[in-house]
Symmetry: C2
Subunit: 219 residues, 2 copies
DNA sequence: CCTGCAATAATTTGATCAAATTTCTTGAAC
DNA sequence: GTTCAAGAAATTTGATCAAATTATTGCAGG
């Protein structure tokens, strides 16, 4: 177990941890991120931390200000419009590609994840909802195989995630989007376009939530 | 002049140089990129080089293999299909946004750049064509202001660039795409949809060139 | 053909230097 | 006498480098 852990390099682990902090963790939009603050929290040197920050900045998950500071970006209305457009074109296409390569094992796995999403919603557990919702989408997308669109989807979620988290925390998990049932039904009947449509609807609902919160000034 | 240069950090300069080497330079698809090879060529320590490589890897311009090697990625047919889809949806939208905020000064600037594109094609100067073609597209896109779509367009060009360069070198600049005239005409008459359509056509032509070369096994 | 060793290159750490922000002090004006 | 502002010093944080460590690959020898 430590044998396996030793094989994967520190900067990779650090990247994964910082990424998850942005997606699911405590880092909120506008919050500053410092190298030395992170070297203290995670127990590593500053080079791996530095790399992780630069990598996430390149993916749009962090925003380097002109002076050498870095923060979690705050989504403006214009940003949200662009992220929404990109997500609504990229992710349904990805879902469609994945649906073409679907297997019974995948459907089973997705069904299991979706059950955990439902449980999280019923229990009003925002953190569990966010993680399992993410897991559902990417278990599906990854079935399309590696490629540009998958990379873009990951980047878009990193931009969208923090805002969705803030919104979810305020409104509770019960009002969160979930068109997963329709996506699963379409997959079972081999309807790739139907899967894409369901994902499109799911994304649209999430975007609407964030847009409404943005207009109310909650973000 | 050295005063200005001192203000911008080494890793930023290194990133820009390595990025241009991938887009316009000598780095071909499949070619390995090593930290120590670059510290020798560019005259810096390894930390800035390391950062530049990681940043470009995050943008998809470089491909980290499982072992600690990094190479310029080779575009597969599947990759090309995904890049084409993404470019054809993202960039026309970006052009449309930019067209909404167009100014006489911008049109003048774009006209000047396009003249240099034409000159490069007439002179069969592949390198000058690539740089000015890039400059034309991004001078237009940047008029839409900073944002997600612009970041995505930059990343897509980094993925597409090396292959287009290989194709151009083999076929000569005379057969290269250029729907810039139509885009400029549409901008002058305030026709945002027309600009988007022209850019769509321009991208489609470039993609067709690369696809044909790929099928002939030239890449 | 498999195993071990050597060479090469990446990873990581700690130290040092540079820059930016904040805080404290000093002076002037009301 | 008090308050505000400007400037300087100190602290915090980022950038860069050089050295030590670790992993991978290729080659040689059994």
């Amino acid at each position: 177990m430590t044998e396996d852990a030793r094989k994967i390099p520190t900067h990779e682990v650090t990247y994964a941890r910082l990424r998850d902090m942005i997606l699911f963790g405590v880092l909120e939009p506008g919050q500053p991120v410092t190298i030395q603050g992170l070297t203290a929290g995670l127990v590593t040197g500053m080079t791996p931390v530095r790399e992780a920050i630069r990598r996430l900045a390149a993916e749009g998950a962090l925003l380097p200000q002109g002076n050498r500071r870095v923060t979690v970006p705050r989504l403006t209305a214009s940003d949200l419009a662009q992220v929404a457009f990109a997500r609504l074109t990229i992710e349904p296409r990805l879902a469609e590609l994945a649906a073409a390569a679907v297997s019974p094992a995948l459907i089973e796995r997705l069904t299991a994840i979706d059950a955990r999403v439902d449980a999280a919603i019923r229990a009003d557990d925002v953190s569990a909802y966010l993680q399992n919702n993410h897991a559902f989408h990417f278990a599906l997308y990854e079935a399309a195989g590696p490629g540009v669109l998958l990379d873009m989807a990951r980047s878009l979620w990193l931009r969208f995630g923090p805002s969705l988290r803030v919104v979810s925390s305020k409104s509770g998990a019960t009002s969160l989007p979930d068109s997963h049932k329709e996506a699963l039904a379409a997959m079972r009947s081999g309807d790739a376009a139907g899967v894409a449509a369901a994902i499109h609807r799911d994304i649209g609902q999430g975007v609407d939530q964030v847009r409404a919160a943005l207009q109310r000034g909650e973000i």
